[in-house]
C-alpha cells in the first residue's frame, strides 16, 4: 500500500512538473505572439496615418477642382449654385416603360424550352 502511494505521489510530481513547464512554454509563446501583434498594430497604425495623409493630399480641394475642370467634357461637373435647387413637383415623372402592343394573333413556339 505504501509503495503504491509513494509511486502515485511520485507520478503526481512528475505530472505537475510537466504541466507547469508546458504552461510556461505556452505562455511564452503567447507573449511572443502578442508582441508580434502589437508590432503589427503599430505598423498598421503608421500605415493608416500615411494613407490618411495621402487620401487628404489626393482629395485636396485645389486638385479636385483642377480634375473637375480637366474632365469637364466627360463629367460636366459645375460648382453647386442656388439655381440647382428645385421643388419636388418640378421633377418630371419617369417616362412610362415601352410596352409592346399586339392585337393580332401570334404564333407561340416552345423551341429552346427545357425538356420536361
Amino acid at each position: 500500500m505504501r509503495t503504491v502511494l509513494f509511486l502515485l505521489s511520485a507520478l503526481a510530481v512528475i505530472g505537475s512538473g510537466y504541466w507547469a513547464y508546458h504552461e510556461n512554454y505556452q505562455t511564452q509563446d503567447e507573449l511572443d505572439r502578442v508582441d508580434a501583434l502589437r508590432r503589427d498594430i503599430g505598423q498598421a497604425h503608421e500605415r493608416m496615418a500615411m494613407l490618411r495623409a495621402e487620401w487628404a493630399y489626393l482629395n485636396r480641394p485645389d486638385r479636385l477642382r483642377d480634375l473637375a475642370d480637366l474632365n469637364f467634357a466627360r463629367l460636366g461637373l459645375l460648382p453647386l449654385r442656388p439655381d440647382h435647387f428645385a421643388d419636388v413637383d418640378q421633377v418630371a415623372f419617369p417616362p412610362p416603360p415601352n410596352l409592346v402592343e399586339f392585337s393580332e394573333p401570334i404564333d407561340v413556339t416552345s423551341a429552346g424550352a427545357p425538356k420536361p
Binding site: 505562455t27 507573449l31 502578442v34 508582441d35 502589437r38 503599430g42 503608421e46 496615418a49 500615411m50 490618411r52 495623409a53 487620401w55 487628404a56 493630399y57 482629395n59 485636396r60 480641394p61 485645389d62 477642382r65 460648382p79 453647386l80 449654385r81 442656388p82 439655381d83 440647382h84 435647387f85
Partner: protein
Amino acid sequence: MNRTPLRPLARVLEAREKGENPDNIEKENRRLRHEEMRDTSRLRAEGRLLVLGVMFFCAFGVIGARMGTIAASEAEEPRAAATGSPVVTSRADIVDRKGRVLATNMSTYSLYAHPQQMIEPDRAAQELGRIFPDIDVPALAARFNDPKRKFAWVRRSISPEQRQAVHDIGEPGLLFGPREMRLYPNGAIASHILGGTRFGVEGVHSAEIVGSAGLEKFMDERLTDTKRDGAPLELSIDLTVQAVSEEVLDAGMKLLNAKGAASVLMDVKTGEVISLVSLPDFDPNDRPNPLTEGNASDSPLFNRAVQGVYELGSAFKIFTAAQAMQLGLVNPNTVIDTKPPMKVGGFRIGEFQNKNYGELTVEEVIVKSSNRGTGKMALAIGVARQQEFLRNLGFFDPTPLEIVEAKGGKPLLPKKWTDLSAVTISYGHGISTSPLHLAAGYAAIANGGRAVEPTLLKQNGPQMGMQIMDPQSAAAARLMLRKVVTEGTASFGEVPGYHVGGKTGTADKPKERGGGYYDDKVIATFATIFPAHDPKYALVVTLDEPVETSGEKPRRTAGWTAVPVAAEMIGRIAPLLGLRPEFKRGQLETIVQTSN
C-alpha cells in the same frame, strides 16, 4: 519505549532492609525522568527554532534578492498586462468640422553625418549638393573634413526619393534617423488659421514638433497632450467652404486690383467661424520667413481678417441705429434732418460726395448711408452709452479667437472719446477694428441681440451670451440691412433665394506716417447676414485698395467692389452650407425682352 518504574521492587526491598526511606528512590527516579523529559523537549524546541530561523532567512533572502535584481536590472514593460492602446506620442491631427484632415503627421527621415566614418567626404558633399540644390557644398565639405567634428546635421527631414538618392551615394558616414514631419495636405488652404510648426528639441532618433504660429501654437498643449490618446482636434472650419471662399475672394481680389483681401464667415448663434480667409496667403508646409524690413502687413503671413485693424466705415452705422432703437430714442420711421451744415466740436460733418439727403427716416439713413443722420443719433445716445454698447459687442478688446495672432488684433480707439469721436465712430471712422470684430457684431444683430465670441473650435450648441439688445430692435435692424440690399447701396449683393441683408462700408486709408487720408486708397467692406429673415450666417468681406475700372472713371466704393464679391461668395457657399434657397414662384427663370 520502555519506561523505568519509579519504585523498582528490588531496590525498595533492598532499601527496606537497610532501613532507608524507599520514597527517596521514587524521588530520585522522578528527578531523573524529569531531567530526561526536559532534555528532549529542549532539543525539540531548539530544532523548531532552527527551522523557523532558516525559513525566515530564506524568505527575507528571496525578498532581498528580488529587490536587488529589480534595482539592478533594466526596466521593461510588462508583457502580459493588457494595455488598452499604446501611449500616443505624436502630435494630434487637426480636422475640420466634418472630419477632413487639415494637419497630420508623416514619418520621414532626417539625414546626418559621422565625418570620422566617411570615406570620400568631398565626393559625398558634391553628390549631396546635386540632390539638394540649396545646399552650400564648400561649407558642407569643410564640415565633413573637420577632424574634430564627430557629428553634423545635413537635412532635418527628407523625402523617400531623396533618401534613396542619398543611399545611392554609397557613403557609410551618411546616416538616417527617423523623423516625424507635420504635413498640411491642403496646401495654402486655411494657412492663416493653422499657422505652422518647427522642430523644437532635436535628437538623432526623434524631434519634437512645436507650433510656431496660428492655431498650432495656441493649442500646443492640447495637441501634444498624451492623455487625450491622440484624438484629433476638431475645428469649426468647413474645408469645402474655406476652399471656395478662398477661390472666390482670390478671383475678386485680382479682378478688382486689390492688394489684399479678407473674409470671415461665422455661424451667428454658435460663434463658430466656418471660414476665415486672408489673402495673399502662404503654404504652411514651406512657411516663408517674416519680413525683416518694410510694413509687416504686406507679408503673406499677416492675417488681415484677425490681425489687421482697419477703419471699416459705414458698416458701423447699423450699430448706432440699433442702439438708438434699443434705447427707445427712435423707431425706424422717425424722421431725422440730415441737411447741412452740421458742426461738432468745430468739425464739419459731410456726406459722401457732399450729397444732401434732406429729411430721412432712420431706415433711409441706413439705406442711403447718411453720415449726418447717424451722427445725430450718436449725439442723442451719448458717449458713455455708446462706449458701453460697443464694449459689449466686443469692439474694445482683441478677439478671443484660438490663434496666437488674435492678440495682435487689438482695436485702435480714440484716446479721448469726445462728442466728435462719438459722431465719427457712429459711421465707422476713428475706430479701427478687425473684420472678425465686425462679423461678431453683425452676428449679435443677426441672432436677436446676444453677444457672441468667435471661436475656431467646433461647438455643440448656441452660445447664450449677454443680451445686449432686445429682439425687436435686432429684427428692425435686420430689416434695414435687407433694405440696403434691395433698394440701397448694396444692390449688387442680391443673391436670388437667399435674402441677403448687409451694409457697405468704404473708408479712406489713413497715411502710414500720419497726416490725413489717401484720396485714392480705400478699404471696402461689405458686412452681410443671410437669410435676412432668419439669419444663420454672418459674412464680412474686406478688400484692401480695390478699384473697379470698367466705367469711365475708377470706382472704389464697396458697392462696386466688395459687394459683388460677397454676393458671388454667398451664391457659392450657401448651397454648400445646406441652405435651401427660397424662391418666389416665377422668380426663378424669366426671359425679359430687350431691344437696343
